[in-house]
Symmetry: C2
Subunit: 343 residues, 2 copies
């Protein structure tokens, strides 16, 4: 198949920093190339891919040193280029949120597919989608679809990671892990309270975005003592494996409808079980009693930590291999493209 | 003429709070109705207008109580509605920044005109415009055009205000005024320093946006003593007239390429002269020695304050009437529409 992948321009593909969408696009594009497809990746010029890269912008928006950039203008330029070359592709796969590409591809919606990577409970999305309701969509969890249930959903395809063949870590660090971004919705305060009550040490590896600095300084920093609660800052991919692998469990006590939660399957990939709040896609992703626990309260989380710390870590890893490998994700996308072309 | 005006959805038309673009759209739409044109205003449903209002969204985005709104989806819904009704209009006038409407009106660019209301020195704009270079544009100052000089500019039309027939205020409050938004680029710190050196009291009437709270608390608040420097908070339209009218001069010591600066002509409208930094459109708007002074340094600003405080305030007002009335603005837009239709 001749497949175009269209990535957001916020980060390069894969991202140098935090950026789940661009990582998944990277795994998908490379995975499709490995299966023998002819893949063109539309992304920022600092991307690294085995597909043919087409870039209408030399660097990702977040890393651009220019003080004033326009996300809309940058994406419109890219989308115009995709449209000009549309006849070169059998299928065009968009990874953009909020339908930015819809007006460009109205007369060829049938050969496009859209994976929104974010939450969909925005007030303006249903009204807008109704005006472009021919566009086929793929959700990253069943939970993600709910606010836009009436859209033309082809499939749910869970994210996957190309982590097979790596060792299972034994969690011997004896701590609980919090990994991601310091933000009110991610509830690091809950993680600290859960850890305190279990007697486990908590290690927090997280980025602090500009908007979240006040929250960090006012609410979280006073709770960090460097012993029972340690803040290790933002960490890279390599450190992440060790950080997660040495943890007794990952805490994911989120307070928002997380449509997937990549860090949850990153933990599973190294054998580390997860205790997550019952929000968004967590019930779909965590196999209760096998890879972790889904809870509704701090009390239940404390109890779950003791329980999941005793789980067989090779079984956690086996569940990851079975459900969340990149190969499975790539194959499911190929199936979806094929069904779309057969219509 | 059958004219559509398409406003941004950030604020209602006119805005309940801060929002220069929506105010100008309001004056223009009502002014066109007064001239006998058939005007349709596309704007949020809480707008108040003498034109026919078409709203695809019940309230402005900034006042929406829903925690998650999508500006892109909201504008796309409106633009699709404008496009569906396009045949009802001779001319469609867009007041949107960053070209959001370009992909929708490619096959009828000739009957559209776009007034961007913001700065244009965004890195991504020239590349994007080149792909839609049929779209006729109107600048709000000659200065605004510079970063996008090659666009199809039809005219520069300065903003105008419908303030004729009101009294000339005498500036008897004996203070200098700072009005607008507390933000690093607006340089309230410069205003404070200028006032201190002149011996005048400074009164600051300003909104503090969420992003600017830290700047206010760290940099400006310590300089406010309630006597020589007074902070009066955000004020409404009625209070604004009094606040400006009683001031000896308005200080506008900006540090960014302001494409127009509505507050400068609001001051002139009540007879109050302006001391502004030489940035953006200031040299176009201020008549040196008649309505104020344009300066490059704090020293020059201090000297200019004494000078402009002695200007004849009825001459300031006369210059406003001649150059910055709403009638003149509306007539110029009608001229531009007429030229466009004659092509």
């Amino acid at each position: 198949m001749r497949i175009a992948q269209v990535a957001p321009l916020a980060e390069s593909v894969p991202p140098r920093l935090y950026g789940g969408t661009e990582r998944i696009v990277s795994y998908l594009a490379d995975g499709l190339v490995d299966l023998g497809h002819e893949v063109t990746l539309f992304a920022s010029g600092d991307s690294v891919t085995r597909a043919s890269l087409v870039a209408t912008r030399d660097c990702a928006l977040r890393l651009d040193p220019h003080p004033h950039t326009s996300s809309i203008a940058a994406h419109f330029t890219m989308l115009d280029e995709v449209r000009k070359r549309a006849s070169e592709f059998d299928i065009i796969h968009f990874h953009l949120s909020h339908f930015l590409h819809f007006p460009f591809f109205e007369n060829m919606a049938h050969k496009t597919v859209t994976t929104p990577h974010g939450r969909l409970d925005y007030r303006d999305l249903p009204d807008a989608y109704r005006r472009w309701n021919e566009f086929p969509m793929i959700s990253i969890s069943d939970s993600q679809r709910k606010p836009l249930a009436e859209a033309r959903w082809l499939a749910t395809i869970h994210h996957g990671l190309p982590y097979s063949g790596q060792p299972v870590w034994n969690g011997s660090g004896g701590y609980l892990a919090f990994l991601g971004r310091i933000a009110r919705d991610k509830r690091p305060d809950r993680a600290i309270e859960i850890a305190r009550r279990t007697g486990y040490r908590l290690r927090i590896a997280a980025k602090i975005g500009r908007d979240d600095r006040a929250y960090f300084h006012e609410t979280i920093e006073p709770l960090i003592d460097g012993e029972n609660v340690e803040f290790v800052g933002e960490i890279g991919e390599a450190e992440k494996v060790e950080f997660l692998g040495n943890a007794a469990a990952l805490l994911f006590p989120i307070d928002w409808p997380e449509p997937f939660g990549l860090v949850v399957i990153e933990a599973m990939a190294v054998g580390t079980p997860v205790v997550a709040w019952n929000q968004g896609a967590m019930e779909e992703i965590i196999d209760e009693g096998v890879t972790g626990a889904v809870v509704d309260s701090t009390e239940a989380a404390v109890e779950a930590v003791y329980r999941v710390a005793k789980l067989d870590r090779s079984q956690v890893r086996a569940a990851f291999e079975q459900r969340f490998g990149a190969d499975r994700m790539v194959r499911q996308y190929v199936d979806a493209y094929t069904r779309l072309l057969d219509f």
